[in-house]
């Protein structure tokens, strides 16, 4: 492991200032991504600023019935919070289906949103990778790309965004709150994740030293009947091949409102707006779901080994919506 200096920040301002002082410094939250990549020599900070002592781990009610989740709240704590369980079941499920119990106890909400891609070429410094070293090429395009994305890809990067949590949050129209050199900012979560385009090394609109302090989840009565479905090779401790966060309001057999987001298939947490448009106002039946799914995946650009994801994602959407319609979600 490279030599790094380590400091524990005692206030938000101090944390931000510490990073501003070092162009090569990084925040350290749970460390489950950061230390891993540091030891692999994939990220090369010279200084780590530990933010765990900052008072950012609360889960608070917002006036509108939504929630404010502190950036340092642990995945396991958020998953167990009664407000989350009751009001946002899809969020709870997305958390519980992610990583492993040990990781969830360490990993924070902020760290989860900012975790790096799992593309094995990104994680292997001996491989060309545009995200790690801009301009070197993308090894995954014609490599082992079974886990890679089919939506939101570019000729420069096809890495899947790995977070489950972010998929649920994007379906819930969450807002990411930051504090940084330019003061406090708020990003609608869809804008917090950038498409790779020809700059896959740029992943977020934030700047160096900008600290995520909280995630706001606005009230959404529809989310009380919602679910997160994750399709993967094994039952636990595994990223998604395809996942769906969904909520649906059906009245008299007609879909009044719907939220659908996809994980495991896209370069960023993917709000399936096209699918939602088709669903709203249509009869709540399999045909409708299948059509919505088909249209959403129409723009998919598969590579050799991940072509199955185009079909798998559609089937996962249909399954999620059928389950919601049948059971009203996991109430």
């Amino acid at each position: 492991m490279r030599p790094v200096s380590y400091a524990r920040a005692t206030s938000v301002a101090e944390a931000i200032a510490a990073l501003r002082a070092h162009p090569d410094a990084a925040f350290l939250a749970g460390g489950t991504t950061e230390i891993d990549l540091l030891r692999l020599d994939v990220v090369r900070p010279n200084a780590l600023v530990d933010i765990n002592a900052l008072p950012l781990s609360r889960i608070e009610d917002l006036a509108d019935g939504g929630l404010r989740i502190g950036a340092l709240a642990r995945m396991s704590d958020v998953a167990e919070a009664p407000a989350v369980v009751e009001r946002f079941p899809m969020l709870m499920q997305a958390l519980l289906l992610g990583a492993s119990a040990q990781l969830r106890n360490m990993a924070t909400i902020g760290g989860n949103l900012l975790q790096r891609v799992r593309c094995s070429y990104f994680r292997d410094v001996a491989s060309p990778c545009n995200k790690r070293e801009p301009g070197t090429g993308c090894s995954a395009l014609d490599g082992i790309n079974r886990g890679h994305a089919v939506l939101g890809t570019s000729d420069h990067c096809i890495a899947t965004h790995p977070s489950d949590l972010a998929v649920a949050l994007i379906a819930l129209d969450a807002v990411v709150r930051t504090e940084g050199p330019r003061g406090a900012r708020a990003f609608p979560i869809d804008e917090f994740f950038l498409l790779p385009r020809d700059t896959p090394h740029l992943e977020h609109p934030t700047e160096h030293g900008e600290l995520v302090v909280a995630v706001d989840v606005p009230a959404a009565p529809i989310a009380r009947r919602s679910l997160y479905a994750k399709v993967r090779d094994r039952e636990s401790y595994e990223f998604a091949l395809a996942s769906v966060a969904a909520a649906m309001d059906v009245q008299g057999g007609v879909i009044r409102a719907a939220r659908v987001a996809l994980g495991g298939v896209a370069t960023k947490p993917w709000r399936a707006r096209r699918a939602e448009q088709i669903l709203v106002g249509a009869p709540a039946q399999r045909d409708t779901y299948a059509r919505a799914a088909r249209e959403e995946l129409a723009s998919a650009r598969p590579r050799q080994l991940n072509a199955f994801k185009v079909e798998l994602a559609q089937r996962a959407i249909v399954r999620a919506l059928e389950t919601l319609a049948e059971t009203g979600g996991p109430q």
Partner: protein, 696 residues
């Protein structure tokens, strides 16, 4: 004194293990210990043009960067350990500029701390002249393996019989490369004292480490001492002595200090063996009543360019079922890879996957129940050798398993059972593994205080050797377990075969039995002669297999039944239940046997559904060389398994009447699952693992 053999004695080493006091290879503390990190080749084939160590050497704590440029040529005296391939020569490390496979060690950095060594390893600049490695299984140029399992076997005329068979199946099966992935990483600590070398090294074969290092460094065998009391799982990857052990000793000599070298998880995919990728084609001919008339089984496996690794891929097809016309042919394709090695149930796990899937295909074709088809082809003798089996209880295993899984629920027509969006299927496969026994020695010390010490150079990678040897000694010596201490894992102790191939209990157990008998009679003699008690009685015995192997065919048998659920839309396969019924001679400790069997079955689930080493064929890199992406089953994937052992009395195999169970329980699982998936879905998946895209 009650007999302990047959009792579920808890592991005698369990308290040490669960309290962290069992010392594994990397955990021994030595003063002045330096740390070594291997730099692995970043090309799949080629030459090293330059190694620039200047930056690394300038870092604090760095003691040396060792490569072929600054190390002496090592003697590498000829040495063929028991498990080394007979054809070829081991990889000689840091002896030249040639890169033979991706990840080959090309340099070693030694520093005061592990972190310093790791960091410096990233700063060494290496330039290569790269060539494209080749990966050509199964179509590449193949060779007929020599020295061991036959390349070609036949009885009768399988081609002719196939041509005239009433019914035929003809199927091709692919199994990808698999890596062992034990939890304990390979690790070595090496310490020199003049021309004497002591190593703490993770191994399943203590004496071989000492012998190999003596050969590599040109030392007296007596001057090399290996110590390895505990092994944290191995599955075969620690049978051979791999290059990193040499590198640790080389580094220690280079810096004149003891050195510790632990492989990273990633490095465990580049130099410590793996189950080779195989291609198999099975052709069966049969009467409509089910009797086999012809069996032709071909297999092709990968090996390295510098050694021909061979395993018993096609052993079972020659004796498993009664069939007059049988041909097997086994070929190797050398590739730019490192040498494969034994991995739990080597050969049998792969070969029986193909054979048992083909039997299922035949059963479907003939509309005969798959259990019944196997019963109809039960042989009276081993037809490949024309000798009887020492014991064979396959029929009982099949019947018992069918009852326990409630086989009667199974419908012959695929896709007939459904629960919600889950298609339910049942599948069966037979299992077999040969019963090995080899010459082994053991020493017993009866101490004046009434305790006994058993000493033998065996290993315990998890099956419970400490415990089962304790039980054998207790019964023979009439002592309770607290009074018997088993000492193993040391190359200076009496010689035994490698701790693999399910032969430890049959070989070492027999030696311990013999040594205990000898000690007992020495004690009696002493008592009769009226000599004063007070000094230790020491008895060393060597136990050899007799000629029973010539007169009998010796194998353990079993039957595996799987019940799977397949998501009709998403292709997800989940196990609902699995039953393994085994007949493996006498069971010394049912608790350990059960745990072995469950472990083997879980391993088989990995083989069936998850495991595959992803090789990027453009350059030979492995892209999932870690436990997050090389998938093995998690607890959540495994329902409660039913593993049962039938009573089997076999007086021929060895004095204890035991057969191995470690390998056996791995065999047949993948086929049972694949057959159950067919029964659920009507889809035959002939290339492992059975991932969901194959079922969409």
């Amino acid at each position: 004194m009650s007999r302990l053999i047959g009792e579920p004695l808890p592991r005698v080493d369990a308290p040490l293990k669960v309290t962290g006091r069992a010392t594994y290879a990397a955990e021994h503390r030595l003063p002045d210990l330096a740390h070594a990190v291997i730099i692995s080749a970043a090309v799949g084939k080629g030459r090293i043009l330059e190694i620039d160590s200047r930056r690394a050497l300038g870092e604090p704590g760095v003691l040396a960067v060792i490569s072929h440029l600054n190390t002496a040529r090592l003697p590498y005296r000829p040495h063929k350990g028991w498990i080394d391939p007979t054809v070829g020569e081991r990889l000689h490390v840091l002896q030249d500029d040639f890169v033979r496979h991706w990840g080959q060690p090309v340099a070693v950095v030694v520093a005061e701390t592990l972190e310093q060594a790791e960091h410096a390893s990233h700063l060494v600049g290496i330039r290569y002249e790269a060539e494209a490695p080749s990966f050509t299984v199964p179509d590449g140029e193949s060779i007929e393996p020599q020295g061991g399992y036959p390349a070609n076997y036949s009885r009768g005329d399988a081609d002719q019989a196939l041509a005239t068979a009433e019914h035929r199946v003809d199927c091709t099966y692919l199994i990808p490369r698999e890596n062992h992935n034990p939890i304990e990483p390979h690790a070595t600590i090496a310490q020199w004292d003049g021309q004497r070398l002591t190593v703490w090294d993770k191994t399943q074969f203590p004496t071989n480490v000492a012998e190999e290092l003596a050969a590599v460094f040109g030392l007296e065998r007596a001057n090399v001492h290996l110590i390895c009391p505990f092994v944290g799982g191995a599955f075969g990857t620690s049978l051979r002595t791999w290059p990193h052990t040499t590198l640790a000793a080389l580094a220690a000599r280079h810096v004149g200090r003891p050195v510790k070298l632990v492989l990273t998880r990633k490095q465990m995919y580049f130099g410590t063996g793996y189950r080779p990728e195989t291609w198999q084609r099975v052709r069966l001919g049969a009467h409509s009543t089910g009797e086999l008339t012809a069996l032709k089984h071909e297999g092709i496996a990968e090996t390295s360019r510098y050694e021909h690794y061979i395993e018993g891929l096609l052993n079972a097809p020659r004796f498993m079922y009664s069939c007059p016309h049988v041909t097997t042919s086994y070929r190797l394709v050398p590739q730019d890879v490192h040498t494969p090695t034994y991995m739990r149930a080597p050969g049998a796990a792969s070969g029986m996957f193909a054979l048992e899937c083909a039997m299922d295909e035949l059963a479907h074709e003939l509309r005969i129940d798959p259990v019944e088809l196997r019963l109809r082809n039960e042989p009276k003798i081993d037809e490949s050798r024309n000798v009887p089996f020492s014991s064979r209880s396959l029929v009982q295993c099949l019947r018992t398993g069918a009852e326990r899984i409630r086989w009667h629920r199974r419908r012959a027509e695929p896709g007939a059972l459904r629960e919600g969006h889950w298609l339910v299927g049942l599948g069966v496969a037979s299992a077999t593994y040969h019963t090995l026994r080899n010459t082994a020695s053991a020493r017993v010390r009866l101490r004046p205080d009434g305790t006994a010490v058993i000493e033998t150079a065996a290993a315990d990678m998890g099956p419970g050797t400490y415990t089962s040897l304790t039980q054998i000694a207790c019964d023979e010596l009439g002592l309770p377990p607290e009074k018997v201490q088993v000492v193993i894992g040391d190359s200076n102790l009496p010689r035994v075969p490698p701790h693999g191939g399910s032969q430890t209990l049959s070989s070492v157990g027999s030696a311990v039995l013999a040594a205990c008998l000898a000690a007992r009679s020495a004690r009696q003699e002493r008592a009769h002669s009226g000599a004063i008690a007070g000094s230790e009685i020491v008895a060393t015995e060597t136990s050899q297999p007799g000629d029973a192997t010539k007169r009998y065919s010796m194998h353990a048998f079993g039957a595996v039944f799987a019940e799977v659920m397949v998501d009709v839309d998403l292709g997800i396969v989940r196990l609902a239940h699995m039953v393994g019924v085994y007949a493996a001679g006498r069971i010394v400790n049912p608790r350990l046997a059960h745990s072995q069997a469950i472990g083997g079955m879980v391993g088989g689930v990995g083989m069936a559904l998850l495991e595959e080493t992803h090789i990027d064929r453009r350059d030979g890199r492995i892209t999932n060389a870690n436990l997050a992406e090389y998938l093995v089953p998690t607890n959540a994937d495994i329902p409660v398994f039913d593993a049962v052992f039938l009573d089997e009395h076999d007086p021929h195999v060895n004095p204890l009447g035991v057969k191995g169970i470690g390998e056996l329980s791995y065999v047949g699982v993948a086929a049972a699952i694949a057959n159950a998936v067919f029964n659920a879905t009507g889809k035959r998946i002939r290339d492992l693992p059975i991932t969901l895209e194959k079922l969409l």
